[in-house]
Symmetry: C2
Amino acid sequence: MEDTRCPKEASTTHDKPKSCGHQAKGLDHWRTLRCGPWVAARKGVVLRPAHLPFSNITVCLCQSRRLKDYALPNASWSKEMLDQFNKFMEMCKDGTWIRIPSYRNVKYDIAEWQGEKLEDEEEETEARLFSRSVDVEGLGFEYVMFCNLSEKRVVCLFQPGPYLEGPPGFVHGGSVATVLDNNLMGCAFMTVGGALMANLNISFKSPIPLGSVVLVESRVEKVEGRKMFTSGLVRSTDGETIYAKATALVILMESKKSHL
Amino acid sequence: MEDTRCPKEASTTHDKPKSCGHQAKGLDHWRTLRCGPWVAARKGVVLRPAHLPFSNITVCLCQSRRLKDYALPNASWSKEMLDQFNKFMEMCKDGTWIRIPSYRNVKYDIAEWQGEKLEDEEEETEARLFSRSVDVEGLGFEYVMFCNLSEKRVVCLFQPGPYLEGPPGFVHGGSVATVLDNNLMGCAFMTVGGALMANLNISFKSPIPLGSVVLVESRVEKVEGRKMFTSGLVRSTDGETIYAKATALVILMESKKSHL
């Protein structure tokens, strides 16, 4: 049961993390996140320093793979994917953009987006966020989302692996719908709070080659009562190719937190 | 290399399959399919008896897992899924409905749909049909599609596993889009031939609980030149709950075969 015990401290500096008393379990044992004030409080790790809106926070991930942040580079990422990641991380430095951590259990993503504190560890569940369901790096969805709150935009870097095939050699329409769904819902969760997708309308303009790197861009167009209208665009990193366009109607739940 | 040799014969009766000279490899070694005349010719197995439009054909699947037909019951299927499967298989007996075999490599699915003969085995590929990407039975997409050619309809029995999660406990919108995409494209491929999805518009009416069994129904509404308009519906097996409605615009490629 020792592995379920987690340190009660978090480092808010770039220094090496404080020791949690656990044996390090490789490179994934520690993560340094650049976090906004809405970032969820994790078990035993206070991630919401009110005096420090955007801070680098090192967290211990020794509890389980559930808390592994998948929105960070791994060996399967291509040079183009890494270059784009570094470009956006650079834009995160002044707080204009924020990288959104991503887990394989959706409750942690939602907590991340909504700034809620999860209760202490529940029982293990088989359920996984659909877009994090492939275990082997590079075979499924490789993606990371960044948010610009002031512009109400979310941008996703997406490198589709070979398990996402639809037409031979190209990405399945359902895979495109999945990253768009994540991204458009991310817009709602990051800017207002809980929401449900009511309508998703996708126009496929050009097939996406497996293994390429594309940008998925979403923004909030307008809000009328509980109706939020969002739009999405899937394009090549150089902007030369439009792969898909989308609009979505999102129904907002009771807003628990607003960043607007 | 012995495993790559496949028998050149196919049984068109309900009798036990002829021996292929290979050692049987468990229950998955043989499959008896109820096939229409468009069913693809597999390597060394003639599956298109012109004089027998709907026939039971037994094929040897000893070459590789690529040729495993995933649209057949496995231990993860619930009683409701099996009951629905048996009901549709009963309707297949007079040829009104046909079960559509499904493989994890999309080229075999397309061949199945279009009645093409694939060349002898190419090199192994990592790519997989997105909706067959989860290896463990029951965790991902469990589904089987049936086609009614005279009514230009395709119906899919769908049991979403825990790896398809979106909202906690419910199916991800991208998973719903994926089965709808498959089903709506199946309509085009089965009734006309090659096609590409141009627009997919989904209205989500009610969240689908993980592990439930739903019916996905698609039909061709009209064809104008190369534009095919199709509609889809996701509902509970008792028809009491509508989970999603969809429309799609499909662009037909050069038609290689028409069943209309």
